[in-house]
Amino acid sequence: MKAKLILEDKTVFEGESFGFEKAKTGEVVFNTGMVGYPESLTDPSYRGQILVLTYPLIGNYGIPATDKENGLAKYFESNRAQISGLVVADYSVNYNHWQATKSLGKFLQEQGIPAIFGVDTRALTKKLRSKGVMLGKIIFSADKKKSKLDFRDPNQENLVAQVCVKKPINYKPSKKISGNKYWKKPKRIVVVDCGVKNNILRSFLDFGLEVLRVPYDYDFTKEKCQGIFISNGPGDPMVNQQTIANIAKAFQGKKPIFGICLGNQLMALAAKAKTYKLKFGHRSQNQPCQEIGTSRCYLTSQNHGFVVAKNSLNRDWKPWFINVNDGTIEGIKHDNERFFAVQFHPEAFPGPQDTAWLIEKFVKML
């Protein structure tokens, strides 16, 4: 069936449908990564967004099984597709991979996500690059009520509340690895779930940590733990005032606090810094982040639209990583060395695993 992506500036991109055939709206963003569509689709940070993949050949290796481990889907970043829609250039109906159980199209149909192929995604990306991210909607030629669907800005909503757990969940460490080289007694951390990616949880569990995963607005400051982690997640960080307040409270304590992505922004806000929205964000697997004061630069996986304002950090906090391409802040660190956060995704999935040492750095401090 023919389908259309309509942008708020009235540009229309026509293509063929290969997902669920129900019109949807969202914020249109592009990602330039060349692998990892199952991971991206299920990344809670994409909540409310129509995802454009710039790599044109998509669906090649199908979709893996939904097996779970520790209650977490093994091959996905959450237990469902999070995006509002998918736009690609060339979709492979026929797929092949030893782990594949179904086609991408079938998966999206099951998950209720509309998808279009046959779009000039490069032209679309160039538009988003020059005009900034825009609202958009995917509509179908057979859909009679198409005019009824209005553009809706997902950033006005509390997206975090939609994707995080409703009640705290406690995870025991992965049995095989419990107890490790850093400590004798089992350690426990609190993960503040603003839409945490499964691989962050997996990474901690694989280090032999016990993890208490709490809702984003949960007051975790009283929980018994050795460290606090503030997760990634969708939308404007300013929406999450309760979380910011909780973090500010935690800053009074001495426990190590580590943040990733939205977690980085929330920690900055809790430290009275400011955030703003980038024109079209960083969504790719090739963002170069330089560790300030060293000779090192790391390739990182990123997925964010908001960023910490450069000169808004107060005196105790310093920029830690900087994006070599556009000079934006990619990480912050408190002078006490116990509070730190990065804007990128050291847990990867999708993307390069070069900064996995950051997770280890946090674990070692517990």
Binding site: F30, T32, G33, M34, V35, G36, P38, E39, T54, Y55, P56, L57, N60, Y61, P64, Y75, A89, D90, S92, N94, Y95, N96, H97, W98, Q99, D120, T121, R122, A123, T125, K126, R129, F280, S284, Q285, N286, Q287, P288, Q290, S295, R296, C297, L299, V324, N325, A348, F349, P350, G351, P352, Q353, D354
Partner: protein, 1104 residues
């Protein structure tokens, strides 16, 4: 560190050979550019005169000398550089560097190696060390055992089991390696492997695993990125150089992609690579199990491909990192804004396809496997796999219009799919046409089904296109109604116009045609199914508004704007990345050479680059079209716009429409663009230079011969073939041997000498199959004549400059395989005078404007013209760099009507240049190393000396010759050759050589009073093709040079001479197979000239 270094020695890679081709011109040139930016003085040693890197304006000093220890050592003594770069000249430079290190030369002169250290290089080159290193960091390598004797190997095999891979250590891209399924095969392989190396490896076979490569960049601060990953379409077992390769990988998921990437980075960091390196993996198609197959601690063919595939200038960056720079401080050259410390994000897919030329060789084994046999490659860019693959197939220039078009029959389809040969892709196409399932094909080929699904999609669409006929109305179709489709196709070119019937039909037609184009179908291919010619399809297509768009390669998938114009065409998109052209300034399009193959190599790239540079200097906007990833012309900074796309009539017309240039240059890229001249001209394209009608008069043998008759220029007697009987009668009249050749050929394709009636009949069959459109000509073959070539540039028929080169070999050896002396050394003044006069007359008659080349036969003062090409020839760089005048620059001037009134002296030179062919027979198992009218060399070198002998010897060393110390084996075929050589035997003996010879040669010599040592060779009995015994005999007698002059080359079976030649090649012993060359070798050994270490400037002080 960088401050202390002022002078750097760069080693090139020498003559192009299989496994080491033009990519090193690209990498060396980029390295020089990078170093010059740092104000370093660069000394370059490279005997490959046809390269861009040896041009003026790049290196400060160029030595056209062999990249060998003895020579480079002397260059070091003379130049005293502070540093050396070994990573940019392939295995040749690396091996030379290792020897300089081992023999203490680098230490003695305090020379620092820039980039990866010698210790690291050794760890990657010595398999044993390599495996040990990787074990330390728990990285898996194939189970492997190094052995140093056959006996040891046969014991050790029990530890691994069959099937097994045998590899020779320190060899060029897999030389001397292969698969063995049993002891018999193993023993045979071991014999060859041990002739290349003292160390041989036995490895577990991972046949059927995926083969994945990563190109890795690392600086000395441990910043490390993978610039590109690539996946082989053909699974492990086919050398990556023989494989169709896609970038980025297509069948790997995130886990696999990034897992292998992490392993790659870990390995490169552990080994301590600084600059660029490449790592190859085997990946189990059904798990995450993997092995590291190989690491190259230098730029390679894959890195050239990765550079062009991504737009990331790997060689340039590697050179900067070698100087100690931080990766993230270097700018991304494409965006000029972002950093080079990143991994390019592609928004297109790249398909590399190898170009083979196996049918040029007698007796060669057509199977492809773990050894490299291809001579070049093409790279196609598309927004889906089908589009890129179909482009790639056409780019090969082997006569196919796409995946659905082939011209051979498959006797055993299953076998052709199971055992890869150059035509496997078409075997798959045929199987799909015959309705085989993807599963069946995957099982036979072990190719990932994903690729096969995509191929099936192309194949199935044939029917849709064919159905389009329903919507069309042909003006002239009616009268063929009763005929079969096949019959109609044969006359399809006669249809001149066709129309669409109605509005609905028109919409449907648009849908089908667009989809066909999106799947990469060419107009010609579509025309085949619609039974009209490609021009009609183009017309219809444009009427229906189906035109391709231009997209940019920007390294960042449109995230940042690109500053460069690195472009390709696609039908999978709606928006042009570049604006429609306003005709602001003068603009020229130069068509490149296409794939390197036998007969078309780096020299045409040199011509293209020099043309572009000169037009650019003159203020033109320059547009380059080429798709060969191994070239300098496809560096996006060489021109204003680079179209990395097809050199076809269809695509060039697209570019013509898009760019609206003043004109297109087709005469500097060899035969591929030259062949387009007439067709483009007919479509209204302005061709700069000689009028295409006159090009046709020179190309079409029939027309050209008539022209010579008219000009009263002598030529070998010839006749156009209209029937075989007439040809036979003609041959009988002029007497055998005769030469048979079709028009429009390069490197003597299907050209052959017939020595009798049966031969002639046989050849005519082959030749007529090749060219349907142009008549075939039979001509008298002149025996014992000299061959002379003239390279020249004319303006409106006036010859402006010329260089006359003399072939050392007598006529009958293809000019591309000939050793050429410039200026000619043994030419009568009268001969030269006549050649000049003939050249002037031809230039006048054809109103030549631009570069051209004429080949002559001379017997006494009787001069005959055998060929004339109205384009730059293979020897243009040689003629230019030897005479001191850039012929291409002069040609470029006349083509843009910028006439300079200059005098050129190209005759009185105080020195001599000698160009010698580089062969790759050692790569081509079973191929008969002989010289003939078919070209078989893969590259060339040229050196300069104060005497013919000096220049000649330098050239010989550069192509692998070793001066024999003691023992020479001689086997001379024809009796007259034996007699002719008698005095040379005496001269060799006088030099102290011990000469072994076959029975007959010994006998003839002995009758004339020259005593030779008889070596009774043990030829294979029965039909077993095995020359190991001969090889062992050579080795046991310490034979250091073999002179074998073959008899007639037209016997189909294996002759004794064949076994001798093959044993020589497989034993890595220098082979001389031409009488004139053999004589010159003797004279040179006698004269024993000092091989002076003089730079190009020392000979040619002023290059214009």
């Amino acid at each position: 560190m960088a401050e202390k270094i002022k002078k750097v020695l760069l080693l090139g890679s020498g003559g192009l050979k299989i496994g080491q081709a033009g990519e090193f011109d690209y990498s060396g040139s980029q390295a020089i550019k990078a170093m010059k930016e740092e104000k370093l003085e660069i000394i370059l040693v490279n005997p490959n005169i046809a390269t861009v890197q040896t041009d003026k304006g790049l290196a400060d000093k160029v030595y056209f000398l062999p990249v060998r220890y003895e020579f480079v050592k002397q260059v070091i003594e003379k130049e005293k550089p502070e540093a050396i770069m070994l990573a940019f000249g392939g295995q040749t430079a690396l091996n030379c560097g290792l020897e300089l290190h081992e023999k203490g030369v680098l230490k003695k002169y305090g020379i620092k190696i820039l980039g990866t250290s010698i210790r690291t290089i050794m760890k990657t080159e010595d398999r044993d060390l390599f495996v040990k290193e990787l074990k330390k960091i728990k990285v898996k390598t194939p189970k492997s055992i190094a052995v140093s004797s056959k006996k040891q190997a046969l014991t050790m095999i029990k530890k691994i089991g069959y099937p097994i891979i045998v590899r020779a250590a320190y060899s060029l891209g897999g030389q001397g390696s292969g698969f063995a399924k049993n002891q018999e095969q193993l023993e045979a392989l071991l014999d060859t492997a041990f002739s290349y190396s003292k160390q041989v490896l036995l490895e577990e076979s991972l046949k059927g695993w995926k083969e994945i490569e990563y190109e890795v960049v690392r600086d000395e601060y441990d910043n490390c990125v993978t610039v590109c990953n690539m996946e082989n379409f053909d699974p492990l077992g086919v050398h990556t150089g023989e494989s169709i390769v896609v970038a980025p990988s297509q069948t790997l998921n995130n886990r696999e992609y990034h897992f292998l990437r992490s392993v790659g980075i870990k390995v490169m960091k552990h080994l301590g690579i600084v600059g660029e390196g490449n790592i190859q993996f085997a990946l189990d198609p059904e798990s995450l199990d993997y092995r590291v197959i190989e690491v190259n601690a230098r730029l390679s063919r894959s890195s050239a491909l990765a550079s062009k595939a991504t737009g990331y200038p790997l060689a340039y960056i590697a050179a900067k990192l070698g100087l100690g720079q931080k990766l993230w401080r270097i700018k991304n050259a494409i965006t000029q804004k972002t950093t080079a410390c990143f991994e390019p994000a592609l928004d297109y897919v790249v398909v590399k396809f190898p170009r083979w030329d196996l049918n040029k060789f007698r007796k060669v084994n057509l199977e492809i496997g773990s050894e490299m046999k291809s001579v070049g490659e093409v790279m196609a860019i598309g927004r889906n796999f089908a589009e890129a693959l179909q482009k790639a197939i056409r780019m090969l220039q082997t006569g196919s219009y796409g995946f659905t078009d082939w011209s051979f029959e498959f006797k055993n389809l299953a076998k052709e799919i199971r055992k890869p040969t150059p035509r496997r892709i078409f075997a798959i196409a045929k199987a799909l046409e015959d309705g085989w399932s993807v599963k069946e094909i995957a099982k036979l080929s072990q190719i990932d089904p994903w690729f096969l699904y995509k191929l099936r999609q192309i194949s199935e669409y044939r029917n849709e296109i064919h159905n389009l006929i329903k919507y069309l109305k042909f003006e002239k179709l009616d009268k063929y109604k009763s005929k079969t489709i096949k019959h109609i196709r044969n006359i399809y070119k006669k249809h001149t116009a066709f129309l669409i019937k109605g509005v609905k039909q028109k919409k449907r037609a648009i849908g089908i045609l667009r989809q066909a184009k999106q799947l990469g179908y060419s107009d010609a291919q579509i025309g085949w199914y619609l039974m009209v010619n490609e021009r009609e399809v183009r017309k219809l297509r444009k009427e229906l508004g189906i035109i391709p768009v231009v997209k940019r390669i920007d390294t960042m998938a449109a995230e940042f704007p690109a500053k460069t114009n690195y472009l390709y065409f696609t039908y999978n998109g709606w928006e042009n990345d570049i604006k429609a052209t306003q005709k602001a300034k003068n603009k020229v399009v130069v068509l490149g050479s296409g794939p390197y193959c036998i007969g078309s190599s780096v020299e045409f790239d040199w011509c293209c680059v020099n043309t572009i540079r000169d037009f650019r200097k003159a203020g033109y906007e320059t547009v380059m079209v080429n798709y060969n990833p191994e070239t300098v012309s496809t560096d996006y900074d060489e021109c204003d716009k680079l179209y990395f796309d097809e050199l076809s009539e269809e695509r060039v017309l697209d570019i013509w429409d898009q760019e609206k240039p003043n004109g297109i240059i087709i005469s500097v890229g060899g035969q591929v663009p030259n062949n387009l001249a007439l067709a483009l001209n007919k479509s209204g394209v302005k061709i700069l230079g000689t009028d295409p009608k006159n090009i046709d008069r020179a190309e079409d043998r029939h027309k050209f011969s008539s022209l010579l008759d008219m000009l009263q220029i002598s030529q070998p007697q010839w006749k156009e073939l209209t029937s075989i009987e007439k040809a036979l009668a003609f041959a009988k009249k002029v007497g055998y041997p005769v030469l048979v050749r079709p028009s429009y050929v390069l490197s003597g394709m299907a050209m052959s000498v017939a020595f009798n009636k049966a031969h002639l009949r046989n050849y005519l069959d082959i030749a007529t199959q090749i060219s349907k459109e142009h008549p075939v000509v039979v001509s008298k073959f002149e025996v014992g004549a000299k061959e002379i070539e003239i390279d020249a540039v004319a303006n409106q028929g006036d010859v402006l400059i010329y260089a006359i080169g003399e072939h050392i070999e007598h006529a009958g050896v293809h000019s591309g395989d000939a050793t050429i002396a410039l200026p000619g050394q043994k030419l009568y003044l009268e001969t030269i005078r006549r050649i000049k006069r003939i050249t002037k007359n031809i230039a006048q008659a054809l109103k030549i404007t631009g570069p051209f080349n004429i080949q002559f036969l001379a017997k006494a003062n009787d001069i005959k013209v055998i060929e004339c090409n109205l384009r730059a020839s293979r020897s243009f760089p040689f003629s230019s760099k030897t005479t001191g005048y850039n012929f291409i620059k002069i040609a470029a001037q006349v083509m843009r009507e910028d006439n300079k009134d200059e005098q050129y002296n190209t005759i009185d030179l105080d020195y001599i240049g000698v160009k010698a062919p580089q062969f790759s027979f050692s790569r081509l198992k079973g191929a008969d190393p002989v010289l003939g009218v078919e070209m078989t060399s893969t590259g060339e070198v040229a050196t300069i000396g104060d005497s013919l002998e000096e220049a000649f010897l330098k050239s010989m060393y550069a192509i692998g010759f070793q001066k024999p110390k003691k023992s020479i084996f001689v086997s001379l075929g024809p009796l007259e050759v034996k007699l002719d050589f008698i005095s040379y035997f005496e001269r060799l003996k006088a030099l102290g050589y011990r000469i072994y010879a076959t029975e007959k040669t010994t006998e003839v010599a002995s009758k004339r009073g020259v005593k030779l040592q008889l070596l009774k060779l043990k030829f294979p009995k029965n039909q077993v093709k095995d020359h190991t015994q001969i090889l062992n005999q050579f080795l046991s007698k310490n034979i250091e040079l073999v002179i074998n002059i073959p008899k007639s080359l037209n016997k189909k079976g294996a002759t004794k001479g064949y076994y001798i030649r093959r044993a020589t090649i497989d034993g890595n012993i220098p082979l001389i197979n031409n009488l004139q060359v053999a004589k010159l070798i003797v004279r040179s050994l006698e004269k024993n000239p000092v091989l002076k270490i003089k730079s190009w400037d020392d000979y040619v002080d002023n290059y214009h």
